[in-house]
Amino acid sequence: MMDRRAALRAAGLAAAGLGVLSACGRGFGGGGDDAPDGEVVLNMVWWGDNTRAQRTAAALEIFQNRNPGITVRTEYQDSAPYKDKLATRFAAGDPPDLMAMRMDSLREYADRGALLELNGLNLDGLGESARTLATVGDKTYGVPSGLNAIGFVVNRTLTDRFGVKIPDGDAWSWDDLGTFAREVTEAAGRKVYGTGFDLFTLANLFVWTRQRGEDFFTAQGTLGITAGTVQAWFALAQTMRDQGGMPPAGFMDEAGASAAQSYIASGKLASQIIPTNNFLSYNAASGGNLALLRMPGETQGVRRGQSIDTPALWSIAAQSKHPQEALRLLDFLVNDPEASKATGTTRGVPPNQQVAASIKAGLEKDDQVATDYLIGLQGETLPRSFVYPPGGSAIASALETIATEVEFTRQTAAEGAAAFITEAQKALQK
């Protein structure tokens, strides 16, 4: 008789051995892309976490049941390594069929003929701004996988505690934000700062630029923003920092950070700019008492600044061996209420307005808040946003460097603005 410990150990070893043995069988076959006769295998790649994966898998399940003969194989990881892998696969002539595409990469691929023109896809259910998000000239190379915008979240628990009144989120000005932020910081004795956001996040600057009547990137793909606008943006933040409403230089550390790691979640900031599709996770991480406001300055500017955006587009590779099937899958994801019922708003509000309206009732409360915000914006006349031209990522990188130098007063706002315009022009000329 074996005693119990020995038996347990033996069982453990046997289990481990079996696991390893069965692993030996995997990974040594021929390439895994062989499909049974007549069967089409679509490769679909995107970024996200396993919660999004489960929701996506549920939608694909429906699609595959309705389309026998089509199998969809997905790959996903977090967003950090996504673009390297995608670029390598394209370069090696082995692109996926359907893929999530970053807004700032779209033209890098589309301009070089790597993406399928989607003009055959039915996009009638989409609003004007959503439909044209990925339109270059008169051709469409991507469909939003979901819609979002940026918004201001304010932690009501903190404002209540410090007795600071939240301004009217539909009509507040940048000055109101400054006053609000200063009041919070003062009332909190600098333990909490009123607001904080990255100056180099393009989406934030886009709003500011449009409110001043300019486009950051123009329809022709040139630089529309002027040095004066950049300087005013830097100066706005400098004033708020001087007054204490914004934390000192170096405080913000949001690179790649998620809702749970954010300062609004840890209670060190009373307000922050977020992408609206993340409202649920921010609210959950911050104790569930966030208010979602529009961006400041929307009623005082030359024109509206907010726009409808997307966290990611869906695109199809021009080299896809099964473009018809890939288009059918994309049509399902965009236009079929069943698909969006399964995925929810994991990628933002469904771009198809009827679909969005039809799934709203089934959403969690916080997702409904974000969806209402988007539906509200879509009903208004907003300036169109134009696709990032190639070179856009070099511009983003220059803005990050210069904004940081201005933040640490290594350059003045005026010097930084002039340097940025020079760098950006250089990046676009290439």
Partner: protein, 273 residues
């Protein structure tokens, strides 16, 4: 005696510094997911043991599958590196033949080019061979001594061994193969142990190679699986991610503890006979 005690105290203090990350990960894995960032202290204010069972089954496959896949790749890579690199190292360190210096320089040269510019051509080569979505791109190069680091390491160890050993063996009528097998290899045990430990760690942690070449989630390794738990856009399961990160560290630490006794089994302990 007192110097020894001082040494112990010093080592313990420094050791605490070294241990901190591990303890922090362990503690984070025992907290309810939402409190990882709000209560980041070392001692959990509230305990949540469910991160382990939940994390184990959170992904498409049970975590044991990813562990098993990683084990297979790691074990085979260790065998490949030990065999192929030690052969090449012996050739470089102890034998004289035309072109030796040139080949040695070439070998070192392969370490000097940034890997990012090789990704695309390598992918093309492996695609042409039909090796995508298999373990071959991760394994075959290890059997072909493509890791210059380990060759160079073993060369330095073998060159440090007294040459009288080879000469004596030669006089006894040993050819180079017998000399390698009977004399050099046993005496290079620390170098072999180092190679095995380093291979274990680097292959176990390798992320980008498996990311590029494996597409079926059934073939995924531990680092790939760990990066499916979270994304900055989602409301991710942090506690589960920490739990599985901690689980995935255990084999590496275990392997080091088991392997380190061979690190210190050199000539000094086996003696020169």
């Amino acid at each position: 005696m007192t110097t020894n005690r001082i040494r112990h105290i010093g080592l313990c203090l420094a050791g605490a510094l070294m241990m901190y990350p591990l303890l922090w990960m362990l503690s984070s894995s025992l907290k309810p997911g939402a409190t990882v960032f709000t209560q980041p202290g070392l001692w959990p204010a509230s305990w949540d043991l469910t991160n382990y069972p939940d994390g184990w089954t959170a992904l498409e496959h049970p975590f044991s599958l990813y562990l098993a896949n990683s084990f297979v790749i790691v074990i085979l890579s260790i065998i490949g590196n030990l065999v192929s690199c030690s052969l090449a190292a012996y050739g470089f360190a102890r034998l004289r033949f035309t072109g030796r210096r040139l080949f040695f320089a070439l070998m070192l040269g392969t370490m000097m080019l940034p890997g990012h510019v090789l990704l695309v051509p390598q992918y093309v080569v492996f695609a042409k061979l039909g090796w995508l979505n298999t373990y071959y791109p991760l394994l075959v190069p290890n059997f072909l001594a493509t890791n210059a680091f380990y060759i160079f390491l073993m060369v330095q160890f073998m060159r440090a061994l007294p040459t009288e050993l080879d000469d004596a063996a030669r006089i006894d009528g040993c050819g180079p193969f017998r000399t390698f097998w009977k004399i050099i290899m046993p005496l290079s045990l620390p170098a072999f142990a180092t190679t095995a430990i380093f291979t274990f760690i680097s292959v176990w942690n390798e992320f980008f190679g498996p990311l590029l070449y494996l597409t079926d989630s059934e073939l995924y390794t531990v680092p790939l699986a760990l990066r499916q738990f979270m994304d900055s856009e989602g409301q991710s399961q942090w506690g589960q991610m920490f739990a599985m990160s901690f689980v995935s560290l255990a084999p590496v630490i275990g392997f080091f503890i088991a392997g380190q006794k061979y690190l210190v089994k050199g000539i000094a302990t086996t003696g020169l006979k």
